[in-house]
Symmetry: C2
Subunit: 274 residues, 2 copies
């Protein structure tokens, strides 16, 4: 069945699978909605997807390590289109979670993109940057450029797309396995991806690659991708998963899934986890 693309693409809003209602070819707000603001210096607007939990894990790790950090975490339900509210678009014109307002200096500084937020917070508190900055930055950016092939590529075509298509599934399964192998060879040699220190690069990579290996993403993906081929990734993933801050970070802004004990749609205090 041969398809010939038109000269000029036009939007058919009926196509698009499970996320058709939240994918559009234009940006900007669709409704006038202010963001709520709490009393803490950091105001996070997010959801407990892999990109979201990167940042809540860092916040909870900073608190666990004794840094004087407090934050309000507000739920952005992307299935409900909260990311298209005017207030959210002001903090992230790209309409993706997570997004942060940093009011620590009496200002109201926006930061968007999970990688930018991780680096911003780690630099501000001088923590989880590791001893080898070039190596840490290399792996932090490796995650940013690689995970769209795992999530937007493999996860979409294997699990979410309305129809199973052989070529895209093969393309992205191959790339997902290659990426897991890159990580496995690295973690055969070092304890943490940037070397001897647990850093924001681990916190960025774990929610995607760690959780695939732990069997938490995309249905039967762990079997399909033969994740037992990556024992060093698995050991690292389990080590991170056992950290108390990581469990708390996974809970924040979670309003989905079967495990009720993990659901904490909003977080405003250290007592909220009790």
């Amino acid at each position: 069945m041969t398809y010939t693309p038109p000269k000029v693409w036009t939007w058919d809003s009926d196509s698009g699978g499970q996320f058709a209602n939240i994918n559009r070819p234009v940006s900007g707000p669709t409704k006038d909605v202010d963001l709520p603001v709490g009393r803490h210096p950091y105001q996070l607007y997010s959801l407990a997807t892999p990109n979201g939990v990167k940042v809540t894990i860092l916040f909870e790790e900073l608190i666990e390590a004794g840094h004087p950090v407090e934050y309000d975490a507000w739920l952005i339900d992307i299935g409900e289109g909260d990311q298209f509210g005017s207030g959210f678009v002001d903090v992230n014109p790209n309409s993706k979670i997570p997004a942060l307002f940093d009011r620590t200096d009496g200002a109201n500084v926006r930061v968007f993109e999970s990688g930018a937020i991780l680096l911003h917070l780690a630099e501000r508190h001088g923590a989880f940057l590791g001893a080898d900055r070039p190596e840490m930055l290399s792996w932090l950016f490796w995650q940013m450029g690689s995970a769209p092939f795992l999530g937007g590529g493999f996860g979409h075509f294997y699990h979410y797309a309305p129809e199973k298509l052989e070529y895209p599934i093969n393309r992205y399964a191959m790339e997902a396995k290659r990426q897991l192998d890159v990580l496995d060879k690295r973690l055969e040699d070092v304890e943490w991806v940037a070397g001897g220190d647990y850093t924001i690069a681990d916190m960025a990579i774990w929610p995607w690659y760690g959780q695939v290996v732990l069997g938490r993403l995309y249905g039967d993906a762990a079997t399909f991708l033969s994740v037992d081929d990556y024992p060093h990734v698995k050991a690292w993933a389990e080590r991170i998963d056992a950290r108390p801050a990581v469990r708390r970070g996974r809970m924040v802004n979670r309003n989905f899934g079967d495990d009720v004990s993990l659901k904490l749609p909003e977080r405003h205090s250290r007592d909220d986890f009790a």
Copy 2:
């Protein structure tokens, strides 16, 4: 024609389109090849793809601005599998260009991923970081997380894939247009993506989004994506394209294309452009 994925994915090395010979589900070297090393402090191993020219543009902008920077740029021909040589895998275990050895401190520090290299060099020389670091980081990381949908997604399925598939082309055309619209709305308000200063965020975004709008990527993609919808991106793209350092940056490590005057496969001196 319904396709049912197997329980466990296995590699059929015959599938994969134009890049089938360079895509594999495993990482690591396939051959024993040392990297050449020149006399300058920075040794770059790259190719003039959009990710490659980000870094050569920054090097040439640093030189243009009077910073005491010198570099050797060596060609990594990815069509020939140079990225799978043992020496290259040592500098980037992910086998992607660009990759850098920084020998400025008498050490031999590796940096890989274009975004990490940009940040590493800009910080080392205190240049092109702009006055608003959170905003610059947000847009720098925005490029890293977004362009895989433009390049690995849209560019692949629209231009490179062995067969035209309607659903993936629609999916990625919609996302490419959304991203261009995000950028267009931003550049309606500010001269450079991070605000008032030309920064590494512009240098990261331009080779992808600027060059799509200039009609340089993926055949008839500029028509297909109706790039005239994005006049602010176009004006910004042309402004950057006119910079002498950008033209030189585009030349370095280029061994492909019809324009012979742009080809400079290796760069070892400022005189090489003459």
